[in-house]
Amino acid sequence: MDLLEYQGKLLFARHGVPVPEGRPAGTVEEALAAADEIGYPCVVKAQVQIGGRGKLGGIRMAKDRDEARDHATAILGMDIRGFTVHEVWVERASEIAAEYYASIVFDRSARAPLVMLSTRGGMDIEQVAEEDPGAIAQLHVDPLLGFQDFHGRRLAFEARVDGDLVRPIGELLARLYDAFIAEEALLVEVNPLIVTPEREVRALDAKVTLDDNSLFRHPDNAALRNVSGEDPQEQMARERGLIYVKLDGDIGILGNGAGLVMSTLDVVAQAGGRPANFLDAGGGAKAEAITSAVEVILSNPKVKAVLFNIFGGITRGDEVARGLIEAFHQINPTVPFVVRLDGTNDEEGRRLLAEANLPNVHTAATMNAAAERVVELARGAMAEASA
C-alpha cells in the first residue's frame, strides 16, 4: 500500500525523522486555517499518488493569506494525470541549501534492507543512478542486528556529505530505519532530503510503501488506505481479495497465480489480442471468489470475451467450475467465455461445466489454443457490433 506524502511525513514524525511542520486539508477553509496556524510563507501541496505534480502546478508557494486561498482553490479538485486532488498538505516553507537523497528498500537477492544515501538528491535521482552510480552510497543492514551508528557514519562519509552533517544525517538515517522496521515498510524514500541554511536536515518529501501482508498488525496504517485514488474496478477487486490490474484491451483474463496470468497476457498478445485486465484469483480460490472475479471482469464495459486459464495446484478445478456456473446464474453474461482447465480436480471441473451446458462457454485443451479461440471470439463480437 502506497501512502500519500503527508501520511508518510506523519509516519516519519512519529519515529523522530524531522519533517517540516504541516497540516492536511480537504477544503479551502481548512487549508486557510492550516496556513494561518503555520504562518507565511507556506507551501500548498497536492496529495496524489502520482509523480510529477510539481511540474503540473500541484505545488505552490503562498506568501500571504490571499495567495494561500488562491492556491488551495486551484489545487483542490485539480486533475493530475488522471488523479483528482481531494486533499492538500499545507506546509511551512523551507529554505534549501542542498538537496540529498535517502531511502531504504527490501533487497530481494541480499535478503536484507538496503540503505542508500546521496548528496545528489532532487528530481533526477534515477539519472544519477544510471550515469554515476558511485554517487549513491549503499549498504545492507543485518536485520537481526539492526542499524548501528557506524552504518550512518559510513554512508555519510562515503556519500561525502559535509563534515558537520555526518552526525545529523546518521541520526536521521537511524530514525528512518526505525520507521522502516516498526511500520513494516517495503520502501521508505526521502527525495529531497534537504539541508537548510541553518544546517538542519529535514525530509521535504516522503514516499512510503507498506506491506499489505502485515497490516493486520497495524490497524492505524490499514485505515490510511486512499480509496479515492483507486480505479473503481480495482477497488472492487481488492475488497473481494482478488489481484486485479485494469488494462486497455477487450479480452478479460482470469487465471490462478501471478506467473501464469502474466504468461496468459503474453500468449493472448502474441495471438493478436489485447487483454482488458490482469486478474489473479490467487491460490486456493473458492467458488465465491471465482463468481466475484467474473463480476469484476464484466464490470469493465470494454470486455468482449473472457479467457479462464486455470492450472490448479492448491486451486481445485471443481471450485472454479462451480464459481463460473454460479456467476452465470447471478449475472447472466452476454459475452463468450473460453475455459482452459488443468490440474487438481480438473476432470471433475470439466464434467461440471459439461453438465451445466452454459450458453456461449467454450473449452480449450491447451493454453495456446485457448488464447487463439478467445481472440477469434473477441474479433467476432467486434465484427457483429460494427455490422
Partner: protein, 297 residues
C-alpha cells in the same frame, strides 16, 4: 538422485489438521511421500488420517526422525513455525503459506542464513516434486513423470504449465522446485541451479522467471560462470504494463527496472535459450535434450 526431496524424505507437516493442510497432505501420501508426523499445538496425541500429531516440532523429530518440514499454517503463524522447525533440527523446510509479512520473512531468512545446512524453499511456493520419489507441497503430480529435466520457477501455476508441456513431449523431471514469488525467498534461482548442476540425474535445466527484482539477472551471471548443463529459460510478463513500481529505489537496485526483456537478454547472453511461450520453452527443451517430440499438441 534428485534435489531437495527424495525417497529418504521423512516429512512432518505443520498445519496438518487444517482444511488445505489435510487435503494436500493426503495427496502427498497417496503419491508415496513418507509423511511421518504432523504438528498442531494443542492436538498432540491425536492422529490426522493415521498420521501421529505432535504439539511441537521437537517432539515430532524426537519420536519420528522427521527430516523435512512442510509449513501450511496461516500467514501470521508461519514465521514462528519455520523457526520452530529449524530449532528442532530439521534442515529442509518447504513453506507453502502465501501472504507472510515481508519483515517476518526478512528475520527468518537472516536467521536461517547463519546455518548453511538449513534449506528453506518458499514461502508462497508450490513445493518440490521429485517424480517417482516424493511430492512435498501442492504440485499436481499426475502431470509429471520421471526423467532428467530439472525445473525451477518463481511461479507455481507456471511451473505446472511448463512441466505439463514437457511431459506431453515425453520429457520427465528429476525434480521440480517452486521457489516462490515473495520479496524475500528462502532459496533463489542460484541456490537451486547449484543443486541441479551437482545432481547426476539432471541433464537439462528449465528455469521460469517473471518481471520484477533481479533474481533472473543473478541467475544469468551464475550460469555463465558455474553451470555446464544446458539451460532453457522463460520469462513471464513481456506485455505487463509498467505497473506499480517500488519507487525509484527498486530501479536503482535492479539496475534494469526488472523488465522481461532485460531478463531475457541477460539469460541469452549467458547462453540460455529463452522461449517466448511455455510451449516454445518445451520445444527448446526437446531440442536441447536431443530427443524427439512425441506429442506436439
Amino acid at each position: 538422485m534428485s534435489v531437495v526431496v527424495d525417497a529418504g524424505t521423512r516429512l512432518c507437516v505443520a498445519g496438518i489438521t487444517g482444511r488445505e493442510g489435510s487435503f494436500h497432505t493426503a495427496n502427498n501420501r497417496r503419491y508415496g511421500t513418507n509423511v511421518v508426523a504432523g504438528v498442531t499445538p494443542g492436538k498432540g496425541g491425536q492422529e490426522a488420517d493415521g498420521v501421529p500429531v505432535f504439539d511441537t516440532f521437537h517432539a515430532a523429530v524426537q519420536e519420528t526422525g522427521a527430516n523435512t518440514a512442510m509449513v501450511f499454517v496461516p500467514p501470521r503463524f508461519a514465521a514462528d513455525s519455520i523457526l520452530e522447525a529449524q530449532d528442532a533440527g530439521i534442515e529442509t523446510i518447504v513453506t507453502i503459506t502465501e501472504g507472510i509479512p515481508a519483515h517476518d520473512e526478512l528475520r527468518v531468512c537472516a536467521h536461517l542464513g547463519r546455518n548453511p545446512r538449513v534449506r528453506l524453499i518458499g514461502p508462497n511456493c508450490p513445493g518440490v516434486l521429485s517424480p517417482g520419489k516424493a511430492n512435498v507441497g501442492i504440485i499436481p503430480a499426475a502431470f509429471f513423470r520421471e526423467g532428467n529435466v530439472g525445473v525451477v520457477s518463481r511461479s507455481g501455476t507456471l511451473t505446472y504449465q511448463i512441466g505439463n508441456e514437457l511431459a506431453q513431449r515425453g520429457l520427465g523431471n528429476s525434480s521440480i522446485v517452486g521457489i516462490g514469488g515473495d520479496p524475500v525467498p528462502g532459496s533463489t534461482f542460484v541456490d537451486i541451479l547449484e543443486l541441479f548442476e551437482a545432481d547426476e540425474e539432471t541433464e537439462l535445466i528449465v528455469m521460469a522467471g517473471e518481471i520484477g527484482g533481479d533474481a533472473e539477472e543473478q541467475a544469468a551471471a551464475y550460469i555463465a560462470d558455474h553451470v555446464s548443463k544446458p539451460v532453457v529459460g522463460y520469462i513471464a510478463g513481456f506485455t505487463a504494463p509498467p505497473g506499480k513500481t517500488m519507487g525509484h529505489a527498486g530501479a536503482i537496485v535492479s539496475g534494469s527496472q526488472g523488465t522481461a526483456a532485460a531478463k531475457a537478454e541477460a539469460l541469452e547472453r549467458a547462453g540460455v535459450r529463452v522461449g517466448r511461450t511455455p510451449t516454445e520453452v518445451a520445444d527448446f527443451a526437446v531440442e536441447r535434450a536431443g530427443g524427439e517430440a512425441t506429442n506436439t499438441g
